[in-house]
């Protein structure tokens, strides 16, 4: 298939992820949409890597997956700690800080 097809698929996936982060109020779903965005960029890297016949893109995906894993781990730890204290995972409830 053409490279541009892969670009469009990765682009739509990225847009769906951004849509989810802005729309949903459930922290867990927001984190999953964040992962969707990172996954879309991984697809873009591998596609470009194949198109340019260059292995660097695939190697970058290693680092990207590692960063995503670390971020998810820390994010879920914070969500669980918040849930233990506030009994909810909706971002709307996290409004203790005002002026």
């Amino acid at each position: 298939m053409l490279m541009s097809h892969y670009l469009v698929v990765a682009g739509i996936l990225f847009s769906i992820g951004m849509f989810g982060v802005l729309l949903r109020r459930n922290t867990l779903v927001m984190l999953m949409c964040l992962e969707l965005m990172l996954n879309a960029v991984n697809l873009l890297f591998v596609a470009f890597s194949r198109y340019n016949l260059n292995l660097d893109g695939n190697l970058f995906v290693f680092f990207a997956i590692t960063v995503a894993a670390a971020e998810v781990a820390v994010g879920l730890a914070i969500v669980v700690a918040l849930f233990k204290r506030k009994d909810t995972v909706q971002v709307d409830a996290f409004t203790e800080m005002k002026n």
Binding site: L2, L7, F19, C33, N39, S49, A73
Partner: protein, 190 residues
Amino acid sequence: MQDFLFYFLSALTLISGLMVPVSKNPVNGAMYMILCLIGTAGLFALLGSYFMAALQVLVYAGAIMVLFIFIIMLINAPAETKRKRDIPSLIAAAIAFLMLTVGFVMMAMSPELNQPMPALEDAETLAAEGAIPFDGSAKSYGFGLYGKYMLPIQVMGFLLLAAMVGVIHLSKDLHARSQAMLKVKENASE
């Protein structure tokens, strides 16, 4: 056959990706996410990166999403039943989605990207000089990662250390037992 596989896997990825932010129950969302990741792994395999496809399934779908599902089950939050229509953020999200999609489509129309994927056998000859030629084997991944990118790998080690230390600190509450005992005392004195 390759065309059909591409269309099938792309449709799988995009549709399950769309269901992740849309589904009401987070568990359903997680399941759709796993499906989306498997679709992406299929696309990786179609692109000739078999090692990456295996890595995606093992690490991303197999470890990260399993962690998500553990946490969702642990939290046992009820699905959002009555959600009042949050129009402003819906409009903002829709605008962002449209702008990004239009941007990507505009980028995809540029001529240098509208060529078919080159054949893998020509990898050695067609690659630029100074590049690591594309190769599906794990050996070239090893050479590339530990030869050229040795420093970022070591820094990644420290990133994972920082994340691990943070997660352990956030999850472990040393005084939980004494807090529980305090609560029992309070209840007893009432």
